[in-house]
Symmetry: C2
Subunit: 397 residues, 2 copies
């Protein structure tokens, strides 16, 4: 690796620490990056000159002693656009360097007739609106999108979008074209991005091995192994929702198989178990079952326990396979989990080898409904953090 | 990273290419390592002076033109001791730099009364015999052992050895003490080592994502994700044998649960399905069922198909989770697989999402019964390959 490449990486790493840490002292940066103080100061000077960070006194100082300056991201000047295409809604946000969501807009996602054209049109309108509303001197450095389907790495092609039956739709390219801001759109699967978001800013900060389960109509997964998202041979790993847990008596699954984890613990499984009418669906219907269970409704409690047992089988299998430090429940599973936790814990105790369960913690998503959006924003920042000065030069030109 | 560290890594990387490649030209080394010819020649000179490699004319040359020299490992001078503690046998081997098994000894593993002391005594006797039989000028640079249980990373403690009921037995330390050759014993789980061996020298050479299933009494797994063995938070991942596939009607498993993959496809499941008496067990009994099926025995064929369907469910789940480039069947599964392949392929077709199965190949182990032993030898070489000159200096002193 040449000097120039090392310098570029160091600039990116420092910006990442500031972006994720919010406010970091020179001393902390020096320790975390194992670089001496003068090298750190030179890197900070470069990023300051580029308008990406600034140094200031930490809040609450100004009294005795000489307080150390802290480095903060230039949040008001640098941002990305982030999009979240969920099964039931379309969200767009302007997210500042440092991770703050500074502006957001939502639209209901139509259940029917939502072809690529229509979805992209709505998203692009929201995105252009956010872009126009940004301060004049602010720079958009990237665009990230979360999609509830299987995404081809590299070009944002939706290989399979089960909710709308999309197959090989050029979502990323189309959204980029319609946004008309001259930036490529990075696209990721919603559960993958949720996992990364929880690891970077949520319940799993600092963990190198975690599993994120995202519930909506189905159940998606993002699995982080040794600090990296598991992608597999072509980017389509982590499909824990299609792990068959109930092969001979299983409910039919949208994938064509039956007894998949998502068929047993997804939205429909819970609503059916609770005896809710078939025309009810969506987040609100799930919340109603959870609320009823909290109020003591035995049918709703039994439904959560029934689904919780299947969820426990799935989570136990994942613990045996991945020996994770944490399992995080997101999406609608975040709301279902507390009423199903006893079943999940019992299955882990019964099915996971003792040494593999010693260190696992079970948590609900700390980012809640924003986990996928936050993940999309981080994807949008990824080019900048890989090469801050290069991206800035390209964006400004 | 300092100059000295870069140099040490380059020396190790070059030796690894020669060790795994057998015979590599300077040009190929230069290309694979992205280093110029003079740097490569300096590295070769260092390794040659240390007696780890030599340069020679490739075989069959000596005619027209100026043939390029090839670099070969000093196989007759440098070796490791490798041990394989399987459920039914104890194997020890002297394995030369370059990977050739130059001497091997076996003992039957007693089924009862095999406490740590007894097993280590037999292994140490085999190992000392191999060491004594080595040429006088040969150097032992490491010791590796494969064990059929869960191993604590770092110190070779057997956390759980299901076949003998071992819990927290200091296997690596004890074997090191009894060998009396002044080297630590690196210990790994047999299926983990089988996976690495298949990736380095077997069916999966060059693949970055593969799954190795190892059948004996149970079913172990080694899963390589992004080029690295999945270890998880504390080193106990990959336990695919305890993935529950048959939660409500499952056979009891040695782990205390039931319906685990290993309960449905392990040795006992096959023998029971084939109607073999309960007193039969082991590799030979499995081979008899496979042979009978090959000869057209309908009961044996049906048994393989029955087990194959469960195996298919397990493999399909793994494909959805890991999107592997290859699934490799080793141990007794190597023999069972051909008679069960149709069921496995049918389950993959039915249960794995199309994009996740596009690139998966199914193979039997290329290293056969030696996969775990070869993996143990590679573990033994790992210190040398990380720092060749340092290890040699320490070993010689």
């Amino acid at each position: 690796m040449g000097q120039e490449e090392i310098r570029r990486r160091n600039v990116g790493t420092l910006l990442r620490h500031v972006h994720l840490g919010g406010s970091v002292s020179r001393t902390a940066l020096s320790e975390r990056m194992s670089l001496n103080r003068s090298t750190i100061m030179a890197l900070i000077a470069e990023l300051t000159a580029a308008g990406l960070v600034r140094e200031e006194l930490p809040p609450g100082t100004g009294r005795a002693g000489r307080p150390s300056l802290v480095v903060r991201p230039e949040a008001s000047r640098v941002y990305v656009l982030a999009f979240d295409v969920a099964v039931d809604r379309l969200v767009a946000a302007r997210v500042a360097l440092g991770g703050g969501i500074v502006d957001r807009r939502e639209a209901v996602r139509p259940r029917a007739g939502a072809d690529l054209e229509r979805v992209v049109e709505v998203l692009a309108r929201l995105g252009r609106g956010l872009h126009r509303a940004a301060p004049r001197d602010a720079i958009c450095v990237g665009v990230g999108a979360s999609y509830c389907g299987m995404i081809r790495p590299g070009d944002g092609m939706v290989r399979f979008g089960p909710d709308m039956g999309w197959v090989d739709q050029a979502f990323g390219a189309e959204l980029g074209r319609r946004l008309e801001i001259g930036l490529p759109v990075r696209v990721g699967n919603e559960a993958h991005l949720g996992a990364l978001a929880e690891q970077q800013r949520g319940a799993g900060v600092g963990l190198r091995n975690l599993i994120y389960l995202h519930g909506d109509v189905g159940v998606g997964g993002g699995i982080i192994v040794g600090g990296k998202l598991l992608d597999g041979e072509s980017g389509y790993g982590c499909e824990l929702g299609h792990m068959v847990v109930n092969p001979y008596d299983g409910r039919p699954c949208g994938c064509g198989s039956h007894g998949c984890l998502e068929a047993e613990v997804g939205e429909r499984a819970l609503l059916d178990a609770a005896g809710r009418p078939a025309e009810l669906f969506g987040r609100d219907a799930v919340r109603t079952v959870v609320d009823d269970a909290d109020r003591g409704d035995p049918a709703a409690q039994a439904a959560l326990e029934h689904v919780g047992d299947w969820l426990g089988i799935g989570v136990a299998n994942l613990c045996n396979l991945f020996n994770p430090g944490m399992v995080i429940f997101g999406g609608t599973l975040r709301e279902m989990y507390p009423g199903a936790a006893a079943q999940v814990r019992a299955r882990i105790a019964a099915n996971v080898l003792p040494v593999a369960r010693e260190r696992v913690r079970l948590r609900v998503s700390a980012l809640g409904d924003d986990a996928t959006l936050v993940g999309a924003a981080e994807l949008g920042f990824s080019d900048l953090l890989a090469d801050p000065l290069g991206v800035l030069a390209r964006t400004a030109s």
